[in-house]
C-alpha cells in the first residue's frame, strides 16, 4: 500500500514536470543559431583568446624584459 502510494507520488511528480516542460515556449533552431552567430561576431573583437593582443604589452602575462649589464 505504501509502495503504491510512493509510486503514485513519483508518477504525479513526473507528469507535473513534463507539463511544465511542454509548456516551454520554443523558438526555431534557425533563429537561435542566427542570434548565437551574431553574439559571437559582436564580441569577437574583445576576445583575446581569438585574436591575440594588439600589442604585446597588453598581455599581463608576457615575459618581462630582462635587464642586462653591459
Amino acid at each position: 500500500m505504501n509502495k503504491l502510494h510512493e509510486g503514485l507520488q513519483a508518477q504525479r511528480k513526473l507528469v507535473e514536470q513534463l507539463r511544465i516542460e511542454s509548456a516551454v515556449q520554443r523558438l526555431p533552431v534557425s533563429e537561435c543559431v542566427a542570434e548565437m552567430v551574431k553574439y559571437c561576431e559582436r564580441h569577437q573583437e574583445n576576445d583575446a583568446l581569438m585574436n591575440g593582443f594588439a600589442k604585446q604589452s597588453d598581455n599581463p602575462f608576457r615575459e618581462k624584459a630582462k635587464c642586462t649589464l653591459l
Partner: protein, 376 residues
Amino acid sequence: MATEELRVDCDIDSIDALSREAETLKARLEQERSQLNDVDLSEVAQRLDPLPPFIMKARRILKGHQGKVLCVGWSTDKRHVVSSSQDGKLLVWDAFTTNKEHAVTMPTTWVMACAYGPSGTVVACGGLDNKCTVYPLSLDEDPATKKKLVGTHTSYLSCCKFTNSDQQKVSTNSDQQVRVCCRRSVPTQDQQKVSTNSDQQVRVCCRRSVPTQGQQILTGSGDSTCCLWDVESGHMMQCFHGHSCDKSIMVWDMRSGSCVQVFDGHESDVNSVKFYPSGDAIATASDDATCRLFDRRADREVGCYKKESIIFGCNAVDLSLSGRLLFGGYNDYVVHIWDVLKGNRVAMLYSHENRVSCLGISPDGTPLCTGAGTTP
C-alpha cells in the same frame, strides 16, 4: 475492507492514467522539438570566415600541490587563482608572480570544490567533509582561524559557486557513487530578470551589481541535491532536488527551486556545465568523450563536439569571451579547443602530464587556467 480495496483500485487506475499522460507528453515534447529543428548550426556557420590561427602558450606553471588538482577558480581581479587538491590543501596564488599567497590545510582530503567570492576577499571550499566552508583572506592572520561553516550536505561536496545576483543555475548529475567529479553547478553570469516580461526565462545580460552580491553560495553534492545557502546566517535558502543517475542537465529557477528545463542527449555522465556568455545556451562536458551545446530557447541540443580520435572522457569545459571557442579538458591529458559555430577542432594544448581535471578562463577572457595531475 471493501473501501480499502476500492482505494487500491483507484490508485492503480490513476497510476495507469498518469503513465499514459506522461507518455503522450513525452511524445509531444519530442515532436515539437524536432519540428523546430529546421537547420544545422554548422551549415549556418559555413559562410563565416575560418578562425585565425590559434596562438597560445603556457605562461605560468603554479607548482605546489602534492596531489591531483581537483578544482580551480579565478578571482574577479583577474590576477588571483584559488585551487584545491586531493592532498587536502587549498592554495591561493598570484598568477602574475606564481607566488602562493595563502595556504589552508583542510580537515579532509579530496577538496573537490573551491571558488573565489565576487569581492575577492573570501574563498569557499569543500570536499569529502560534506561541508562548504568559507575562509576570509587577509594578510594579517591565518585564514583557518576565521573560517565559517556555511552548509552541510549528506554526501561529499562536488562544487560550490557564489551567486552573482543570478536567477538561475544549471546542474548536472551522474552516478551517486563517490567518484572524482560527479556533479557540478554553475550559476549564470549576472543575469537579471526583464521586469516587463512575466516569463522568468527571458533574461538580459546586463551586468549590474546588486546589494546581495556574493551573499549566497550554491553547492552541489553527491547526495543528488543542489542547495543555495546564505553566507551570513548559514541558512539553507533553497534546495534543488530531482537529480538521479540520469545523464541529464537540469536548469533550475533559483527563487522557486523548481526545475524549468531538462536536456538529454549525453550517453554518459556529465562532468561539467557552463552557461554560454549570452546566457541562452549551455555547454557541457561528458564521459562519453563529447562536449555538447544545448540551446535554451530552442530547448534542444544544437551542437556536438566530437572526433573519432578522441576516445577519452571530458572533465571540464569553458567558453571564450565571445563564445566562439570552447575549451575542453580531457582524460587524454590534452585540452582540445573547438570552434563552437563550425563544430571543428581548432587546436590542442599539450602542457599537462596527467588528466586535465579542471579549467577556467579568467573573467576578462584572457588567460586560461588548467588543473591536472600535480600542477595546476
